[in-house]
Symmetry: C2
Subunit: 323 residues, 2 copies
């Protein structure tokens, strides 16, 4: 039988949401553990320049910002565990987390596993990621003043972000594989009326070229069966964002896209299970919104533990920390 | 006729919510203005030690943190205006802000005027504010390890925070002016079962004493007509938090306590008017949650402007910036 380790809060994911939850939990007198399977710090660590986390006015890399958050969690004694969570179970109200190495019991669980953009899967995409290839106009639009950019996609997000990018770029191509948009009509009307936006229909990017930074793309028009090269300084891919929900999809209520549904306490439909950060069904996915979610989830989890652990009808006591 | 100044977003309040909104708006290619009537930085500036804004692991004062956020807003060119807003009006979809000096037009408005705790109004309260007198257990509980504290109040917040404080303090008095709690029954049950909590009924604090830091309080029991001195290291006042809603109470939909009701975009019931930070009806009021609100409100305002400003049926064009 595997040894069992006991915590107040098990946090799955070490991005801004997970670490913020760990800071609030540990400083709030609870014993949290943060599980991280791969690269510490989450998706933001692939970002070269973060300049919109309020208070950090000197531009830093995503890794540097997350290192500061890790030091913050360390300061209050939050435990960080580099094991991959394989499954989540429940025994009554007690939560069971099984990793590739051990079994952990926790009174509450915060799911902060994040999300990731769907990739274009074309040559050059990985090479130029962060060097002209972006998946977030809110994050990176500012860097494209008077430049030429291409947005890939035809849904609400793609078209909204194309319009947002016209605040900076001198020209915005919207490259869509169909001959009509999926975006709602009013957004389409605004985009069609915008003189900086040019739509390229029935087309897909075939390859991305450049030296150190993106310089051009080859696109293929399916209906005309023609290739064409376009000079661009940046590419914003809006072909979907995918929740990292493998651990919870059979258990937690999700929206149509697979993001976790939560109430204003960040509580999911399962008692004592919270979600925070990009995994949550919400409008704006940024470091600051993720960190806010994490703080709220940890604060809520503390209240939940206080209310539930003395209840005679639950077996939450089996999750009790050793005295 | 007063001269009119035109902006994309008028932000009322310069705390974490207002400055975060300014950072996101200015970096998002919009022209924002932040109005601040009194002390720059909002309520957090009275705090001596902020150690739970994720990423800032070195303890700093509230004023220092807000100075960093101000530099951040300055970096992207957000305008900050030290004028007191006297009234808010609308002309169609265009928002009118009148200060003690000028009139401003803006396409959107973000209300970030904050909230403030109801005070005990007893001698010593102001002198020891931040030196033993606190209005936020989530913020300051950590500083009271193995100390004796008193919580004043009898509602859900007072009792929940008293239980939270037992994670740190060796003894928690709950001083309530009535002989029963207003908190919901299950919270009462948990609190009564907690051996660290002692209830002092029918009583009010009369005075707070100490040298540099709180050392004791005098309480008066109304039903027994008796005074009594108690040694305490800290006092947490939970007798109400009051929204700074004077500018919006006649216009924006509010909850029963007077906090602004918003949707997930931070949009109020009035088209193009957003709320962010402590003024919002929500669970957890912290710097991190306020900053998140501000970012979301600015992001949403940009989308709203894009959709609405080209609409022939609105007069939002009268808010257009000079070319």
């Amino acid at each position: 039988m595997k040894e069992v380790f006991k915590y107040d809060i098990a946090i799955i994911g070490s991005g801004p949401a997970g670490l913020s939850a760990a800071i609030y939990a540990a400083r709030g007198g609870l014993k949290p553990i943060v599980f991280e399977r791969g690269v510490f710090g989450g998706q933001i660590t692939v970002t070269q320049e973060v300049e919109n986390y309020p208070g950090f006015h000197k531009t830093l890399t995503g890794s540097e910002l997350m290192e500061e958050m890790r030091k913050h969690a360390d300061k209050f004694g939050a435990e960080i565990c580099e094991e991959e969570v394989k499954g989540i179970g429940m025994q009554g109200l007690c939560k069971i987390v099984e990793t590739n190495k051990k079994i952990y019991h926790a009174k509450t669980l915060i799911i902060a596993t994040g999300a990731h953009p769907r990739k274009l899967n074309v040559p050059g995409e990985d090479k130029f990621s962060g060097k002209g290839v972006s998946y977030c106009a809110t994050c990176d639009g500012f860097f494209y003043k008077d430049k030429i950019v291409a947005v890939v996609g035809g849904g609400d997000s793609a078209v909204e972000e194309a319009m947002f990018l016209t605040r900076f770029a001198k020209k915005v191509y919207v490259i869509h594989r169909r001959d009509e948009l999926r975006a709602v009509q009013i957004i389409q009307d605004r985009a069609f009326a915008n003189p900086k936006i040019e739509f390229i229909w029935n087309s897909e990017i075939q390859e991305i070229f450049g030296r150190d930074f993106v310089e051009s793309i080859t696109i293929f028009n399916k209906s005309e069966n023609k290739h064409r090269d376009i000079k661009v300084d940046g590419i914003f891919a809006y072909v979907g964002i995918l929740p990292n929900n493998e651990l919870i999809e059979s258990r937690v209520a999700l929206d149509e896209q697979g993001f976790a549904l939560v109430d204003e306490s960040m509580h999911t439909n399962i008692p004592g299970i919270y979600a925070a950060g990009d995994i949550v069904s919400k409008k704006l996915r940024q470091v600051i919104t993720a960190a806010s979610d994490g703080a709220t989830a940890a604060w809520s989890a503390e209240k939940w533990i206080t209310i539930n652990q003395e209840d005679e009808n639950t077996d939450l006591k089996t999750c009790e920390l050793p005295k």
